[in-house]
């Protein structure tokens, strides 16, 4: 695992998200260091996805979001990928009727360097050989786990510095979850900073160095992964003990 540097790549300060009159995220603050792998844990409806969507500017939020030292609260979502911030949305969000190769090239939509794009596609195929075999198949025919890998691969096509992952284990068979997490770890090993939202706390804490626990819109616990794994409250609430 890469050694975290001292500067935070992502910094959220008093982040709040409202849907109409309902507050989904009630003033959370957290940070992710360069090269770090951090997770945000919590039950259904805790506000994890809302937090992630706010970070990717898919929804509006108040408070402050700083990415690479720049305040990004007011920026439209589509410019973030140019800055190296990529989101793998919840439920995978692949382009079901496009082929796998087309999905990957779509991930490089904002780039103009054709030769480099082709090289990146090959690089991702080497990393995800299962996708290479199905290169010209329609993405909708892939299994859930393969779709998740494709979604991650597509995000990597944008050459991100920070990857936001929303529940990559959702709806997958345990064996597939393990494979997806292997992929995530290898992405992290390449130096990509990762902020991971997960319900599967055990798995997330095993691969991450730090974690935040979110409950009804607030961050209630923040600690290193080993400490969280040992924490009685975490064990009771998320590890089924």
């Amino acid at each position: 695992m890469n050694k975290p540097e001292s500067s935070p790549l992502l910094d959220a300060l008093n982040l709040e998200v409202h849907y109409g009159g309902i507050a989904a995220v009630k003033g959370v603050s957290f940070s992710v260091m360069q090269g770090e792998m951090v997770c945000l844990l919590g039950a259904n409806g805790a506000g994890k996805t809302s937090t992630l969507k706010a970070l990717a500017r898919m929804i509006n939020s108040t408070g402050e979001i700083r990415y690479a030292g720049e305040k990004i609260n007011e920026l439209p979502s589509h410019v973030l990928i140019n800055k190296g911030l990529a989101l793998v949305p919840e439920g995978r969000g692949i382009f079901a009727r496009l082929t796998i190769a087309e999905n990957l090239t779509m991930g490089a939509y904002h780039r103009q360097d054709k030769a480099e794009i082709a090289a990146d596609v090959e690089r991702i195929f080497t990393m995800l050989p299962r996708l290479k075999e199905r290169e010209n198949q329609v993405a909708g025919t892939l299994s859930g786990g393969e779709q998740q890998m494709l979604a991650i691969g597509r995000a990597l096509m944008g050459r991100p510095k920070l990857l936001l992952l929303d529940e990559p284990s959702m709806g997958l068979a345990p064996i597939m979850v393990a494979k997806v997490f292997e992929v995530i770890q290898s992405v992290a090993a390449q130096g990509v900073t990762i902020f991971l939202v997960e319900q599967n706390a055990l798995l997330a804490l095993k691969v991450c160095s730090r974690g935040y626990v979110m409950e009804s819109g607030k961050i209630t616990i923040s600690d290193t992964a080993p400490n969280l794994l040992a924490d009685a409250r975490v064990r009771a609430a998320y590890l089924g003990e």
Partner: protein, 357 residues
């Protein structure tokens, strides 16, 4: 069906192209032998092809369900009617008004698009349906206090096209050949069709085209890949609307008359049916759908009565009722057995065959 689908890039086999071109050039004269009415029917079919290609950008490429598309046709038609008729006493030449009509429709498209950016599917359909009705009702009521549209009476005596000495409203003879007004319009429409097809083909393969497909497939993912979904969706509405406006202008000139009655909801649904039945997203499929759905009801109009008389010796069912009954049944059967359309886009076909396995 192995007709070259890559028409625009096909350089090798040119013989079928030439044959098709000759057939299309000769067509109006052949039809004129049967009756000028058939030339008119063909012209309307081409107009519907143009409309369908416009709607295909919105529905087929970008996946935005628009049930009020005929409104842009109306906007183009009324723009032409107002700027080339005794109603306001303005008589501008067509080559000025057609672009103006397309531009006005384009703006109308953006105006409709802007508030609906966050809507999808059924919700978008309802809003666009409302928009289509609002435009029609506007045309119906803008006769007082200031008479702009002349209300339900419509605008009459609209100028026909005029290119130099050639008046599209009059019959000419060219070396013994009788060239009627509808025949002249036919050639103009074919020219317009060629331009629109080329623009459509280019758009589809462009960066914008890929962005539309991405939005159609998954909007959140499209955003995440760096597509400015707001602008790209607005562009789809605006471009689709411009084609609608352009067709509307030609419609007004051909008819010489426009009234709100021509722009009812039924027409929007008809154009949508052409796009869906032909094969959403595929330019050639959409053309096929529009041609079929324009001609089949007309052919039935002329055949239902004699066939009934021949079989039963008398009229059992009112021909108008039977005509729509057969037409509706044909639609149902087509969608049952070719759910992706007669000639679907390869992507849709891939999905449909994958689903069948």
């Amino acid at each position: 069906m192995k007709i070259p689908t890559n028409f625009l890039h096909n350089k090798g086999n040119i013989a079928p192209m030439i044959a098709l071109a000759i057939a299309l050039i000769a067509l109006p004269f052949a039809l004129a032998l049967v009756g000028t009415a058939w030339v008119r029917i063909t012209n309307f079919a081409v107009l519907f092809v143009l409309l369908s290609l416009g709607l295909n950008i919105v529905v087929g490429f970008a996946g935005l369900l628009d049930l009020g598309y005929i409104a842009f046709f109306a906007v183009g038609a009324y723009t032409y009617g107002l700027l080339a008729s005794p109603h306001l006493g303005v008589h501008l030449p067509f080559w000025i008004i057609l672009p103006i009509g397309a531009l006005v429709a384009c703006i109308a498209g953006a105006v409709l698009g802007a508030p609906t950016l966050k809507l999808r599917g059924d919700y978008l359909a309802i809003v666009t349906l409302g928009f289509g009705e609002i435009v029609r009702i506007f045309m119906n009521n803008m006769a007082a206090p200031i008479n702009i549209t002349n209300g339900p009476k419509g605008i009459a005596q609209i100028d026909s096209f005029q290119i130099g000495p050639i008046d599209f409203g009059k019959v000419d003879t060219l070396g013994g050949l009788i060239v009627s007004g509808p025949i002249k319009y036919y050639y103009f429409l074919m020219l317009a069709l060629m331009v629109v097809v080329i623009i459509n083909g280019r758009l589809k393969d462009s960066r914008i085209g890929r962005a539309w497909v991405a939005i159609r497939e998954d909007e959140v993912a499209a955003k995440a890949t760096g597509i400015n979904t707001r602008n790209i969706k607005l562009l789809a509405f605006a471009m689709g609307a411009s084609f609608g406006g352009l067709s509307g202008g030609m419609f007004a000139a051909i008819q010489g008359f426009v009234s709100p009655e021509s722009f009812i909801l039924n027409e929007s649904i008809m154009v949508l049916a052409m796009v869906v039945m032909g094969g959403m997203g595929n330019i050639w499929g959409v053309i096929a759908g529009a041609v079929l759905l324009s001609f089949v009801p007309e052919i039935l109009r002329y055949t239902v009565e004699p066939v009934q008389m021949a079989i039963f010796g008398k009229m059992w069912i009112d021909p108008e009722v039977l005509r729509m009954l057969i037409f509706g049944l044909a639609l149902v059967l087509t969608m049952r057995f070719r759910p992706a359309g007669i000639w679907p886009e390869s992507r849709h076909r891939r999905e449909m065959t994958a689903a069948a396995k």
